[in-house]
Structures are given as C-alpha cells and as structure tokens.
C-alpha cells in the first residue's frame, strides 16, 4: 500500500522538477534521456498505410527507437482531410515527447488561406527535423507537341492540368505558378492519386505537376517529358538538362510567389512535436533524429526503398517553416485571391 501511494507523488515531483528545469537548459540532460526508458513513443503518420509518408515515417520511427535507448517507437496512421486530422492530433497531444509525427508541408497554404478544420498553428509546433527536399517537375505527355517550357508559357489556349481537388496542395501550386510565371494553367479537379498519370496517358490533359519521385515511373517509361523543375535544387542526375524555375525571368511579385513554392517544397517529410515541449526533452528527440538520419544503415535502407534523403534539423527547420508561413501582408492577400475556394 505504502509504495502505491508514494508512487504518484514521486512521478509528480519528477515532473515538476523537469518542467522547472527544462526552460533553462537547451542541451539534453541525462534525466531527459532517461525519461524515454521504458516509454512508448507514438509516431503519427497523417496518411493511410502504404505510400510515401508511411514509408518515410516507418523508416524514421525504426531508427528513432535505436537512438532513444530503452524506448519503443510505434507508428500510428491517422489519415483524413488531406493530412489535417493528423496534424491536429499531433498539435493537440500532450507535449511530453511521447507523441510526434509527420504531415504534408502543403498545409502551409491551408493555414495561410485559413482552411476549414485547421486547429493548429504551424508557427508553434516544436520542429524536430525534415528528411528530404522535394524536386518537383512539370511533365507533358509524350504525344503532345510541346518541346520547351517557353512554348507552354507562350500558349494562348489554356493548358489543362489534373488536380486532386480545390484546396489540395497540387491544385494550389498549379494556381500559384500560373499567376507567378504567368502561364495559362487550368487545373481540372477530380483526379485522385494516380488518376492524374492515367489522364496524361489517355491524352485528356497535356501536362501535370508533381514530385519527381511520384512521376518517375511515367518519365522512365517515356510516357512523359520533363520540361521544367522547381522546388529543391539538390540535383537529380536524370534532370541535369532540365531548366529550373529560378532561371525563368518573372516580375518581382511573381518571384516572391515562386520563392514561397520553392521553400515549401524544400521542407519535405518533416517530423514535428506538439507546441510547448520542455526544451531538454525536445533536444533529446532532435539529437536522436539527427543520429537516425545520419545512420549508415538508415541511408542503406532508404536506398532500397528508393527514398531520397536531404535532411535538416531542429532550428533550421523551424526557420524554414516560419519563412514560409510569415509572408508579407501583400503576398498573403495575393495568395488568398489566387487560391480561395469557391463559395
């Protein structure tokens, strides 16, 4: 009986001690590392099982466990509402370091325009790191007449492009780039997932935007030609001769929109924790994440899965996200005008 009643007091004491001590130290104290011993860390993936986010999430979770000694890191899929439900769940979780997770960086657009259902503020998440920078590509069908991106920009007729839906990241990006370049892109909503590539094969639409990894099958099968790349510039060898969007001349206003799109695509496959984490514990997670992402075994596994890696850590990611979200008022107005949903 005695030990039973003492136990909660002890835990409370430790908790109080930690919460007082935490703000004063940014380095991981041994007590913070010990905290994870015998605990279960839940890594939330905001999509269903299978697919890119799940694969990255499971790989990272496995190696996080290796560098959080004595802990168990499990993956929980919380899909829905285009990653919003997963992001909400992470944001609202207890900031004790036992719930972290991943979601789509495109939610930056959703927050800027104030999309329905968002219960988080991306400025406030405790950022742990990101695993990749995304190279995105503009692809035309093999049978279309377009040979250069200039022909696309000069086209008088609208260029129809598949999108998964109004408010989704690909739809927003199509509209923003159309306004920034400018080009006559016309997104056709209603193509879920791989249907967009089928639309290119069938010739219903001449062009599609997407991540290079997602479209590499289409490109490798010579069913599509890449005319332009944007997002990360970290250099995919197959795309050496393809012009980057930064080399296209645009107005200053267009340039700032393109910078926004690029910066969002660079923060790929992020890992975040709820706001208000004790600094010491956050540091433990950031250290573990850094060790995981530089582990030669993880790098080997990533190669097997065909996953690209271009990691960044802690404060650097925090800064990248803040840059993306905290746009000048004029940019936000422009963005809202471009990507507002129909009423």
């Amino acid at each position: 009986m005695g030990t039973k009643s003492r136990c909660p007091c002890f835990v409370l004491g430790v908790f109080l001690l930690l919460s007082f001590a935490a703000p004063f130290s940014a380095t991981a104290a041994p007590s913070d590392i010990d905290f994870f011993k015998g605990k279960t860390v839940t890594y939330i993936v905001s999509t269903k099982t299978g697919g890119g986010y799940d694969t990255y999430g499971r790989l990272i979770a496995r190696y996080l466990q290796k560098y959080l000694p004595g802990s168990r890191v499990i993956v929980k899929n919380v899909p829905g509402a285009g990653h919003i439900i997963g992001a909400n769940t992470i944001y609202q979780a207890e900031p004790d370091g036992l719930t972290i997770g991943t979601f789509n960086t495109g939610l930056i657009y959703s927050q800027i325009i104030g999309q329905e259902g968002i219960q988080f503020d991306l400025n406030k998440f405790s950022w742990i790191g990101k695993a990749n920078s995304e190279t995105r590509v503009f692809v035309v069908g093999a049978k279309t007449p377009y040979k250069t991106f200039k022909e696309i920009m000069d086209s008088k007729a609208p260029i129809k492009m598949p999108s998964s839906g109004v408010g989704s990241e690909d739809h927003n990006e199509t509209l923003i780039l159309a306004s920034a370049l400018p080009a006559k892109f016309q997104p056709i909503p209603g193509y879920q997932g791989k249907e967009a590539e089928m639309a290119i094969l069938r010739g219903e639409v001449p062009a599609v935007l997407g991540s290079y990894t997602g479209l590499s099958g289409l490109i490798a099968a010579k069913e599509g030609r890449v005319l332009m790349q944007y997002g990360s510039e970290h250099g995919i060898p197959e795309l050496k001769s393809v012009p980057h969007i930064n080399s296209i001349e645009v107005t200053p206003k267009g340039k700032s929109l393109i910078n926004l799109v690029n910066s969002i695509d660079i923060i790929g496959r992020l890992t975040a924790a709820p706001p208000g984490m004790p600094a010491g514990r956050l540091q433990v997670l950031r250290d573990a994440y850094r060790k995981a992402l530089t582990d030669p075994e993880l790098i080997k596994d990533a190669k097997k899965y065909h996953l690209d890696l271009d990691p960044a850590y802690g404060d650097d990611v925090q800064k990248l996200v803040a840059e993306g979200i905290n746009q000048p008022a004029e940019n936000i107005r422009t963005l809202k005008n471009i990507i507002k949903t129909k009423e």
Binding site: K48, G50, I84, P189, G190, A221
Partner: protein
Amino acid sequence: MDVWDAIWAGLSGATSWPAFGLMLLTIPIGLIIGIIPGMGGNMGLALLIPFTFGMEPLSGFAFLLGMHAVVHTGGSIPAILFDTPGTGPNAATCIEGFPMAQKGEAGRALGAALTSSMMGGILGAMFMAIVIPVVRPMVLAFGPPEFFMLAMMGLAFISLMSGSSILKGLMAGGMGLVISFVGMDPQTGVVRYSFGVLDLMDGINIVTIVVGLFAVAEVIDMGIKGGAIAHSKSANIKGSGVLQGVKDCFMNLWLVLRCSVIGNIIGIIPGLGGDAAAFICYGHALQTTRRKDEYGKGCVEGVIATDAAHNSKEGGALIPTLAFGVPGSSGMAILLGAFMILGISPGKEMFTQHLDLVFSMVWILVFANIIAVAICLPLAGTMAKITFLRTSVMIPFILVCGLLGSYLTTSRIGDILITVLFGVIGYGMKKFDYARGPLILGIVLGKIAENALHVSLNLYGLMFVFRPIAFVILLITLATVFFPVYRAHARKKKIEETSK
C-alpha cells in the same frame, strides 16, 4: 521471346524453389487477412514488403502475390457466416450469402463462394494473359466520360435490386447517393454534410457502413428474435451442402465466365474501383436470371456472380501497373513500390523483355487461387455449423468482430458510432422491407459518377456524351431500363387484344 516459350518459362519460374514455397507461406496469411474484417490486401502488402528485401524478383512476386490474390477468398467467409464483409468488395457477397446461411445453407453458400472465387481468379489470370497484346488501347479507351456512363449503368441496376417495391428501392438508392456526397467536394473545396465533424471530411468508408447495415442490423434482429442464424433446422448439418455449392458453380459455368470477364475488365480500367466490380456483376446476374423472385432471399447465383468478380479483377488490376508503371489502385501502388524495391521497373519492356515474368505472375495467381480454396473447402462444413449456434453465443462474437473491423479500417473511434447508427438504419430497412442493396450501390457509385461527370464536363463540355464508347454504354443502359417497360406494355396490350 515467343509467347509459348514465355508461358512455359513462366510456369517453370512459378514452380521453382523457393518461389513456390514462399507462395505457400503467404497464402494462409492472405486468407486470414481477408477473414479479419477491416484488414485488407493493402495492409497485408505494407506488412509483408519489408520481408522481400534481398529476395530474387520472382520469389518476391510469389511472396506478395500469393497473399494478395486470395484476400477476397477469405473475405467472403465472414460475409456469409456473420453478414460482416472481410473486405470492401465482399460487401456484395452479404446480399445473397447471409440469407442463404439463414435458410440453413451456409455450407452451400461457402462451397459456391469459394469455388466461384477460385474459378474467377483462374479465369481472370487467363483473361489477363489473353489481353496482353491489346492492353494499351483497351486501358486507354476508358476515361472519365466512360466511367460516368458505367456508373450510370450500375445505378440502373437499382431498379432490379429493389425487391418488392421499386419506389422503396429508389428511395434507398437516393439515400445512398446523398451519403456518397458526405465529405470534401473536390470541385469546390467545400465540405458537405459533415456537420462540423472533421472525421467526416473524407466521407464515410464503405466497410464502416456495410458492417453497420448488415452485421449490426442482424445482431439487433437476432437479439429480438432469438434462435440461431440458421432459422431452418431442416438442412442436413452433417453433409452441410458444401459439395452442392461446388456443383452449383459448375452448373452456372456460363455465369461464372461472364462475371469473371466483367470483373477482369473493371480491374483493368483504373479508376472505377474494386467495390464496384462485385456489385455490377451482381446486377448483371439479376438482369440475366430466370429466377428473379429468389434474389434477395438467398439465391446461390448471386453469391457465385459476386465472388467470381472479386478475384478475377485482381488479375486485371495488374495490367495497367505492369504496362505503364501506373497503378490502377492504392493496393497496386504499394505493389508497384515493391516491384521497384525488387529491381523491376514496369513499363513497355515488361511485355517484351520480361514476358516470362509476367506469365510467372499469371501462374502464381492461378496456383494461389487453387491452393487457397483447397485449404478452405475441407473446413467449410465445420465453419457452416457456426450458424446453428445459439444467438446468445453469436451476438457478442459478431458485434466485436464487426466493430473491430469498422475501427481497423479507418482507425477512428468515431466510425464505430457511425457503424452503430447504420446498424439501426439497417434494422429499420429490414423491418420495413427496404432492400439494402440499392443503398450500397448508391454509395459505391455516387462518388464515381459525380466526379466523372464534373471532369468530363470540364474536359469536353456536354459533347462528352457522344464519345463512341460512352454513347454505346448509354444506349445499353437506356435499353435495360426501357426494354422491360416496353415488354410489359406489349404483353398487356396482347392480353387486352386476346380478351377482346
């Protein structure tokens, strides 16, 4: 490579060691994943892929396809015994399968479902091999206008599935359409019918609904009536009718063949979805049968038609994945990822340089289907006896099984509430004689129809109706709707004339 050489090379590949052994290992896994409601082939693939690291490509295929090919075979078992579909496409099996169990014919239903799914799987694999030369034009001929017309054709089956009252059937179908609209509308970015509940933004999963509409509704009914699932004790428990079910399949060979081809084609066309295949085949069986009155009350033909469709579509779904490197479904997207891990990049070369590998896959599908049924058939008689147990034993079991399935499908607690709500709706429909098939059909096809209509209008304007294939499907649909009306009118006229 000569086609015949490729077929033989494929056979020797599929039967080589360790590929064959690995396939034997994953077939039971696939069956179990199918039997457990809420776990589907996609989850199975995601779980098994890490084990394929370091395997030869052929062994890797055998390992994954062995599991994937037989998931729906397992999924029919709880659909028949407990009215709880193991996977989404098995929902259609419930419509006739469970009423058969209630008549005391669970064994016959299991025998028919297993045999028909095996035949469907084999025919689907064979059909896949036959269409390889014409695969490109075939896949690319179906775009959004054609999807819309196919969905319309499917919706026309509501009139056939309505049972005693067309009006009630239309009401149920209309309600199904409204339920399919729940969630984010891709055309406007507006969330519809979610009442502020965030979980509803993606719409309601079909398994969540079907478990409620059938399994929970049945539990309520059983709780009120008591007894056992099988109302009739007259059936011979010992023989259990499994063999009769097997015989039924052979007697309906022509139906099995037609439904396998339909299922396979729907599998080949990416975008229509596997759930639709089984329902369209059920509708087709209803349309062509001479025993329309027996449908809805446990007709073995209905079980045969739906189960032939499940497994045959898997062969079809492989085609776009292999031919273009573009997967037709989320399951195939995972499989494509696995192919790339195994060092095979799908595309045109698959059918020129790696034709033997393609045929190995065909053979693996054939063997996996035969072996799965060889495992299940001897057990079917024993499984059927469950339906003769007291309901007080069965209710907790079915309830836990069904609600667990609903939770596993989406991992959302809220969906359990939705399942219970649909349980009450389902019980009400049963009690007041509203057929539940039209409701499900509306839900399955509503979203496809709406989306395809918007995309078609955006791409082609109203002229999309006159695209050749779309127009032909439209004519067939109109004929199926109006021909019975015309025939009834003509018969009435004839009777009037003769009475004069």
